[in-house]
């Protein structure tokens, strides 16, 4: 199963995303921002980082990269009822997805105005997406969170729409780290193929290299790995 990981100039977590794909059992395919050929991948990860320096607004320039033209075309409109290319946007990738209008809402400067890096407790609120099917309904996990502009905002009708459609994929527990409305950590498109997530599951896939503890308090943590095994499973059954 081939999963594309995009590198924009200023991408930082693409090595981690590619490692997560490999550890999940997939083949990571490097995609270059300037190339609109997706090389036939089955899914795409837009990694964390500071694409194009995050100048203007986070993700605002990356949205116009040639590779994004193809991602936008294959992912399909966000409200479409027919599933398109699975895409996971992590952190900066989430910002790119919002700027691309593949997901609603926007991500703004943290309410405390500082960068924050911490181990974050999350509740998976939707497990019928292509990226979360291996999690239990309402399961709690711990993965790293690190962002300066991670506050998810949208107008009230949009938030209500997302909630009523069950499109809030993950919510912050144990304190809102960045001022996100309704503690929202991640959302999806209508079919659950495109998911944007502010925290970093790719940093909790290998024992000894992530948060000290998982959500159950065990001194080991690979809570993030199932985002990647989920999509592989979906690809297999698709």
């Amino acid at each position: 199963m081939r999963i594309g990981v995009v590198t924009f100039p200023g991408s930082l977590d693409e090595v981690d995303a590619a490692r997560a794909v490999r550890l999940a059992g997939g083949e990571a395919v490097a995609l270059w921002h300037g190339d609109d050929d997706l090389h036939g991948v089955d899914a795409v990860v837009l990694p964390g980082g500071f694409s194009y320096g995050d100048y203007l607004r986070c993700g605002a320039i990356a949205r116009f990269a040639p590779v994004m033209r193809s991602v936008i075309r294959w992912a399909g409109p966000p409200e479409s009822a027919s599933p398109g290319l699975p895409v996971l946007g992590i952190c900066n990738g989430f910002q790119v997805l919002c700027e691309s209008h593949l997901l609603p809402g926007a991500l703004v400067r943290n309410d405390h105005r500082k960068f924050v890096c911490r181990d974050q407790r999350l509740r998976i609120e939707r497990n019928n997406t292509r990226w979360t099917s291996r999690y239990g309904d309402g399961e709690e996990i711990v993965v790293p969170l690190k962002n300066g502009e991670g506050g998810f905002v949208a107008d009230v009708p949009t938030l209500d729409h997302l909630e009523s459609e069950g499109r809030v994929v993950a919510r912050y527990l144990g304190g809102n780290p960045n001022g996100s409305y309704r503690d929202i950590a991640g959302v999806s498109n209508a079919t659950g193929t495109v998911v944007g997530l502010m925290p970093h599951p790719e940093h909790a896939v290998e024992e000894g290299f992530g948060p000290d503890r998982d959500a159950a308090g065990r001194l080991t943590n690979t809570d993030g790995l199932r985002f990647f095994t989920s999509v592989l499973e979906g690809v297999l059954t698709a």
């Binding site: 100039p9 200023g10 930082l12 964390g48 924050v116 890096c117 000894g208």
Partner: protein, 771 residues
């Protein structure tokens, strides 16, 4: 991309000071003093050239002969690091001192390069940009060795924690270190935060960068092979940081003097991140024969060092440099410290491939000129020669001073004022009250308000990071081969005895690496001192350098490079002598690493080493009584080595589930930190320790004797561990057992919930700096 075009600016060549004009008009008054040169230095330049320098030559000499670039006051002492190295110590050194950074062989074909540098003065003037470009500068040093930068650390020192200027500089410095490192995708794995009034007006921003490479990937800064091309690539040159090295870094700040903000560089981490990836692609394509980063002294340094290290000369066209500000004069272009620039030497046949890679990364690259066989560095401005000098006289044969040294007069008085007269707590209740105050004191409180602003996860190879004693990075994913790094400094011990103070921080850094299970291997140092023109400071400097050099020889660990920062003083008041040591260790497999806290109840806990009554210069004396006097703790490096051996061997044998170094704050601080690390409590008893070492409970808890660590071992292995320590000649004393209750219980004295300790520890920094 502009490969051969010139800047078409209004600047005409005619009005500039050329070599021809310097010969024709020898008696022009030149602003050598304003550029920081002394009269005899100016005279020497005239002697070297046999004429007056042109204004461009004067600019180059002035920045390259500054204290910051030339090490003119420190050189005679720094030689000791080279002289006191044995062949055995050199064995693992692939590149030693004198290059951009040292390179150490860590086995299996892998090497690492690491170096620490200061950006103290710029960070005082403009905290955010000063600190940010400090990160940028050291990262480019690591890149120019051919390595991929993989981690940073940042030892920071500030004035009194409640001083208004600390509130001004600290948030900016932290955000500067954070934003630049975070945007480069480099995990920040450790460092220090210290407070002392002596750093008021002189905050110390030291930054360490670690890079990894294969043995065959080493690159050096040299321009060799006549006809090879000199290529400038990266960001455009602007008016920022002009004279940063000479004006900011090599002078003392005066109260009420002009602010020097235009001399601080402005960083663009995005440009640097792209430059890193671009350079790594260039190295991989083997199209670079020599490389140099542009840092202090900008193009002046890059041209002269590349030419000086090479085998011939260099001719460059300065007007080809792409500019951000077309009105810059050639002198300014030579002195500008604009960030995110590199210079490469490229064979003509490789140029097309080189430019293809820089194009891929949208990095501007310009052929500035070529390597020649003339032995001269010639710089042309619109076709006319504005610099014609022997490059070695600029880069390597600058002035050398043997400055006067004098032991400070007040030192004996300070050393005889021991902490013996200070009141001490006796009862358990008093000890607990003291403990809660100490845990929340500026020197010991939790640094998490700072470290949560740094990304420690990026790249997925961070095996340990703050608050553990050392950061640890996996270098080779296949085998788990990794390195550990710690940085340590202690100005107070330095003030009481600069020689012993330096040995104490060396020992602490060594111990901090050993507790993680890594074998200490190499040192980088950042020597932060006051003005070298003050004989007392110069004496401190010599003492510290000889202490470090002797200590390194005793431990068998070479110094691979580093940095000297002088002029850290306001008026006549210098900072405490503050050498900061960065220690690198190697571990065969990071899976065997040892964290600084116990992870489960029921584990036997031991204190290794001997405790003496050593409270001079301690956190207790300072935090509780504002007292600094007496003689610092004794440090015996043979004992330190035995301790490290048992820790490293213990980790390898799987004995250790936790190991934590004892230093500032003594035993009780270490116990608190080991409990808080994973939230697991401890029941312990000090009676046998007090009896064995003849101590009061207070001294047992707060003394800062060296060569000690606390460890926990798997349940049921206590006897084996005691024998193991006895075989290694290290005293081991059972203190107690980790507990299923979240509490630190010291038998007969006090019991305190971990939650109370956590609150006491974490309250201070957010209270002061969160707005």
């Amino acid at each position: 991309m502009t490969a051969e075009s010139s800047n078409d600016t209004a600047a005409s060549a005619a009005c500039h000071d050329t070599v021809e004009r310097a010969v024709q008009a020898p008696d022009v008054d030149q602003p050598w003093a304003e550029l920081g040169l002394k009269a005899d230095e100016y005279a020497r330049i005239r002697e070297i050239l046999g004429r007056r320098p042109t204004s461009c030559e004067l600019a180059m000499y002035s920045v390259m002969w500054s204290e910051h670039c030339s090490y003119k006051s420190s050189k005679v002492h720094l030689r000791q690091f080279g002289e006191k190295v044995t062949d055995e110590m050199r064995e693992k050194l692939l590149v030693g001192m004198g290059e951009n950074a040292g390179v150490v062989d860590i086995g299996r074909g892998w090497a690492v390069t690491f170096k620490i540098e200061s950006h103290n003065h710029p960070s005082y003037v403009e905290p955010h940009q000063g600190a940010a470009t400090g990160v940028g500068g050291i990262v480019r040093d690591i890149m120019s060795m051919g390595a991929r930068p993989v981690a940073v650390m940042d030892p920071l020192r500030f004035g009194a924690i409640d001083h208004p200027d600390t509130a001004r500089v600290l948030p900016g410095i932290v955000s500067g270190v954070g934003s630049y490192g975070n945007c480069l995708g480099l995990p920040n794995i450790g460092g220090e935060v210290a407070f002392d009034p002596c750093y008021q007006g002189n905050p110390l921003v030291n930054v360490l960068c670690l890079g990894t490479l294969r043995h065959g990937d080493i690159h050096l800064a040299q321009a060799s092979g006549a006809g090879n091309l000199v290529v400038l690539f990266g960001a455009r040159t602007g008016g920022d940081g002009i004279g940063g090295a000479s004006i900011l870094a090599s002078e003392t700040f005066e109260e009420g003097g002009p602010t020097k903000r235009p001399s601080v560089q402005v960083g663009d981490p995005f440009a640097e991140k792209v430059l890193i990836e671009c350079c790594l692609d260039l190295f991989a394509a083997k199209v670079v024969t020599g490389i140099q980063d542009l840092g202090a002294a900008g193009l002046s340094c890059a041209f002269s060092e590349l030419a000086s290290n090479g085998d011939g000369g260099m001719q460059v066209h300065l007007d080809r440099a792409p500019l951000r500000d077309p009105s810059l004069r050639p002198e300014e272009i030579l002195m500008s410290e604009s960030q995110e620039r590199m210079m490469a030497v490229v064979r003509p046949a490789d140029l097309a491939a080189f430019l293809q890679i820089t194009d891929k990364w949208d990095v501007e690259a310009t052929v500035m000129g070529q390597v020649t066989d003339t032995g001269r560095l010639e710089v042309l401005w619109h076709g006319q020669t504005v610099v014609d000098v022997p490059p070695r006289t600029v880069a390597h044969e600058g002035p050398v001073y043997n400055r006067p040294m004098a032991r400070p007069e007040r030192l004996d008085e300070v050393r005889s004022d021991t902490p013996d007269r200070l009141p001490r707590p006796g009862t358990g209740e008093e000890l607990l009250a003291l403990l809660l105050r100490m845990v929340g004191s500026p020197g010991l409180c939790s640094r998490s308000w700072v470290t949560t602003q740094y990304d420690r996860y990026v790249r997925g190879n961070t095996a340990l990071a703050q608050p553990d004693d050392a950061g640890m990075i996996r270098v080779d994913e296949a085998s788990g081969l990794g390195v550990a790094l710690s940085t340590d400094g202690n100005g107070r011990f330095g003030a009481l005895d600069p020689r012993e103070g330096a040995r104490i921080v060396l020992a602490e850094a060594y111990r901090n690496v050993a507790v993680t299970g890594a074998q200490p291997m190499a040192v980088t140092d950042c020597l932060n001192f006051g003005s070298p023109e003050d004989p007392a400071v110069m004496w401190q400097f010599e003492q510290a350098v000889s202490g470090l050099a002797d200590g390194c020889r005793e431990l068998g660990i070479p110094v691979t490079g580093g940095n000297v920062s002088f002029y850290n003083q306001t008026g006549t008041t210098a900072i405490h002598p503050t050498p900061v040591v960065g220690m690198l260790g190697v571990i065969d497999d990071v899976a065997h690493r040892v964290p600084s806290g116990w992870r489960e109840p029921g584990l036997p806990v031991y204190l290794l080493g001997t405790t003496r009554e050593e409270l001079a210069g301690s956190e207790w004396a300072w935090a509780e009584h504002g007292h600094l006097g007496g003689v610092p703790p004794v440090v015996d490096l043979d004992t330190e080595r035995l301790l490290a051996d048992v820790l490293v061997a213990g980790a390898r044998e799987g004995f250790l589930s936790c190991a934590h170094d004892l230093s500032e704050g003594g035993l009780v601080q270490a116990l608190v930190e080991s409990c808080l690390r994973f939230g697991v409590g401890l029941e312990c008893d000090l009676e046998s320790l007090c009896r064995r070492d003849d101590l009061s409970p207070f001294v047992a808890l707060f003394s800062e004797s060296t060569s000690r660590a606390v460890v926990s071992v798997p349940a049921g292995t206590g006897g084996l561990w005691e024998n193991f320590c006895a075989e290694h000649g290290v005293p081991a004393l059972r203190l107690g057992t980790t507990s299923s209750r979240p509490s630190l219980d010291v038998e007969g004295l006090f019991a305190v919930p971990l939650a109370d300790l956590k609150v006491a520890s974490e309250a201070l920094l957010p209270t002061l700096f969160e707005h």
